[in-house]
């Protein structure tokens, strides 16, 4: 009996030692948005399940990007898990900076992840980041204002109709502006939207020889339209309005239409955040000469830098936080309207459709995105609202400043495009593209 007791105690001590040795402390760099905050709140479930503890480094998007880029470039090894987007994942995967994630266990059910989203985060068929949520862009519009004006929003509007609606809804004296669009300079701000508009008008960033095309008639037509509609039917100071400012304007009932991220639909639909939760409807982003690349393609995803020494534990966290079970957990604990959208087929179940009437339009927009065919004319790059090359951040930032200056009336459309073309040409030459 004594021997049995001793064996039992020894087994317990051994098991506890093994558990302690296995439990890791993972450092996660993540972006500050509602979905990631929910993940942080629910992560105690992961710790309970695995014993791994988590240190959260939550940063503003631009700071996160700079911080993570520095760490990746120098192999700093400060983070075990990083939050990256569809822009970084294929580039850093190609450069061997990230741990490949194609060997996830069968229980993860990789086939349940939308193929388009998998492609966004892959290079040569190898996935380097697991999607946490995915988004496209679409049109938010006020169905009450449309009804009052005797208008009907079509399922697939074009930019000619879009301008006519903006004009009809524009009533600044009553505090309603026809349209709210991103105007704040930045490759992820105004240029995300402007690029989808240029795609719609048949334009592209580069030709097949990597020569910039910003002096093309398509860019001029798109930018002239954009400056005109914002200045005539947009809110005052539109050149300083980014996603957040427009989100606040739309939620407080100041915009007739807004083209922006599908992921904002949950916020607009939430009665505690939005005054127009019951007056808003959604439809596809407008098209013009083509409907290719009119809605952007983006995913926030979790990845493991090669410099991490805790790859196994990090993979466990990735598998948990991007799983079907996690989506269910969010749905049950926080409500289905805030479940991470756009990544898994299984998310789009009856519960979700019932709680989130915008879900079908979001799904359609996400299914329509194709980063490999985002332009009318052939291009050497992938990406819808960006060109997936390392130089694009710098190009997009500079061009974004010229475009914002054109909206603010500090320069003409021609001048903005001329300067944008020259700046892009200089960067591409310096980078050795031609």
């Amino acid at each position: 009996m004594k021997a049995l007791k001793a064996m039992f105690i020894a087994a317990l001590v051994g098991a506890s030692a093994a558990m302690t040795a296995y439990a890791e402390k993972l450092t996660i760099a993540t972006v500050n948005n509602s979905d990631m905050i929910i993940m942080q709140e629910l992560s105690s479930e992961f710790t309970k399940k695995t014993g791994h503890e988590l240190n959260w480094v939550t940063l503003e998007e631009n700071v996160l990007r700079q911080r993570v880029t520095t760490d990746i470039a120098t192999g700093g090894g400060q983070f075990d898990i990083i939050t990256i987007g569809a822009y970084e994942a294929p580039m850093w995967g190609k450069d061997g900076k990230l741990v490949p994630l194609s060997d996830m266990p069968a229980s993860y059910d990789m086939d349940d992840v939308f193929p388009t989203v998998r492609d966004l985060l892959s290079h040569n068929g190898v996935i380097y980041a697991l999607p946490f949520y995915a988004e496209s862009s679409f049109t938010f519009y006020r169905k009450d204002l449309f009804a009052n004006a005797g208008l009907t929003m079509p399922a697939e509007p074009n930019y000619r109709q879009f301008r006519a609606y903006a004009e009809a809804l524009h009533d600044p004296e009553s505090g309603v502006y026809g349209v709210c669009l991103r105007g704040k300079a930045g490759w992820g701000e105004n240029m995300a939207y402007v690029t989808t508009m240029v795609n719609a008008f048949g334009g592209r960033w580069f030709d097949m020889n990597w020569r910039p095309q910003l002096d093309s008639p398509e860019w001029k037509e798109a930018l002239t339209y954009y400056v005109d509609i914002l200045n005539n039917f947009g809110p005052p100071g539109a050149s300083s309005n980014g996603h957040n400012e427009n989100r606040a304007l739309f939620a407080s009932g100041k915009c007739g239409m807004w083209v922006d991220a599908t992921s904002a639909a949950g916020y607009i639909y939430n009665p505690s955040d939005s005054k127009v939760h019951d007056k808003t409807d959604f439809t596809r982003a407008p098209s013009a000469r083509t409907d290719r690349g009119t809605g952007w393609a983006w995913a926030w995803a979790l990845s493991i830098p090669k410099s991490s020494k805790k790859t196994d534990a990090a993979k466990q966290f990735l598998a948990w936080s991007t799983s079907k079970e996690y989506v269910d957990l969010v749905g049950e604990r926080k409500g289905w309207t805030v479940a991470p959208p756009g990544t898994r087929k299984s998310t789009y179940n009856d519960n979700y459709y019932k709680a989130a009437p915008f879900a079908r339009t979001v799904l359609n927009s996400i299914m329509a995105m194709d980063p490999t065919k985002s332009t009318l004319l052939p291009v050497p790059y992938t990406g819808v609202q960006f060109a997936a090359i390392p130089e694009f951040q710098s190009i997009g930032t500079q061009v974004g400043q010229f475009v914002a200056a054109a909206v603010a009336g500090q320069m003409s459309v021609d001048e903005a495009l001329e300067k944008s073309q020259a700046a892009t040409d200089r960067i591409m030459r310096q980078a050795g593209y031609y």
Binding site: N32, N33, I37, Q40, W56, V57, E60, F79, N244, A264
Partner: protein, 270 residues
């Protein structure tokens, strides 16, 4: 004459209010709900809530960030003062023909944008094991503030009459004793106010703290940054986090305002 004083007083209050307004606005926003914080036109009268403070405390370990800020700013300031006092003494009382050049050279290091040396510094810190450590930030903040601290102390030391030191040197040739018993009592206020200035500068610095720390040594600037977002409206929570971040330094400034003003204006009026 009296009406002039009243006018000046009113003008002073108005300017004071304008300077204080952003802080008042931030505190007000921190007591609103998110939807009230972004409302246009903004509301001045509302039912205050402490919810944002509870959310911020639940999400982040405020005390850990505050402790890191205190440790880093105090020790970096002490180290900077320890180096700057003898350096400034030497520049002020034992000048050579290269003193001016050296002073300008020291100050010129402040003119380089920090991002220009980010990658080499990061690699250096990585190889030395200084990333995300208190020591790492203390060292960089000491170096960063040294030019300002040296210049402020040098300007003050230069205003001390040379004759006092010469008289002391006739009585005693021990430099340390002269420094401890003559110079230090004379420059107590200057050293104190320079230290406060250094602490404030370190408290507010965000570039290096965001780039060289992750979790263990992250100060309050990293804490604030975690509530800023280009996608998602967290202005009320951001305001609550900012209010919590500036509270300790505002309290320090309020308690020591007399010494700070006295030290900063020493030698300004002759």
């Amino acid at each position: 004459m009296k009406s002039n004083r009243v006018l000046l007083s009113i003008l002073g209050w108005v300017i004071g209010f304008i300077i204080f307004f952003p802080i008042l606005w931030m505190v007000m926003a921190s007591l609103k709900t998110e939807i009230e914080a972004v409302a246009t036109p903004p509301s001045f009268f509302f039912i205050p809530t402490l919810e944002n403070y509870f959310v911020v405390q639940n999400r982040s370990d405020y005390l850990n960030y505050a402790w890191n800020s205190i440790v880093i700013s105090v020790f970096a300031t002490l180290l900077a003062i320890l180096i700057a006092v003898p350096a400034s003494y030497s520049f002020a009382f034992r000048p050579t023909k290269r003193t001016k050049f050296k002073l300008v050279w020291i100050l010129s290091t402040k003119m380089m944008p920090p991002v220009g040396v980010l990658i080499p510094m990061y690699l250096f810190y990585k190889n030395m094991g200084l990333l995300d450590t208190h020591l790492g930030l203390i060292l960089i903040y000491t170096l960063m503030n040294l030019p300002i601290v040296i210049w402020v102390l040098y300007t003050y030391f230069k205003d001390i009459p040379q004759e006092i030191l010469e008289a002391a040197q006739m009585e005693c040739d021990d430099l340390l004793k002269i420094f401890l018993y003559i110079l230090l009592p004379l420059s107590k206020s200057a050293i104190f106010s320079t230290s406060l200035l250094s602490i404030v500068l370190i408290w507010n610095e965000s570039f290096w703290s965001l780039n060289l720390t992750a979790f263990e040594a992250a100060p309050l600037t990293a804490f604030i940054s975690s509530y800023s977002s280009p996608e998602g409206l967290f202005w009320a929570k951001l305001s609550a986090a900012s209010t919590l971040a500036i509270l300790p330094i505002m309290f320090l400034g309020w308690v020591t305002q007399k010494q700070m003003v006295k030290g900063l204006t020493l030698g300004a009026v002759k």
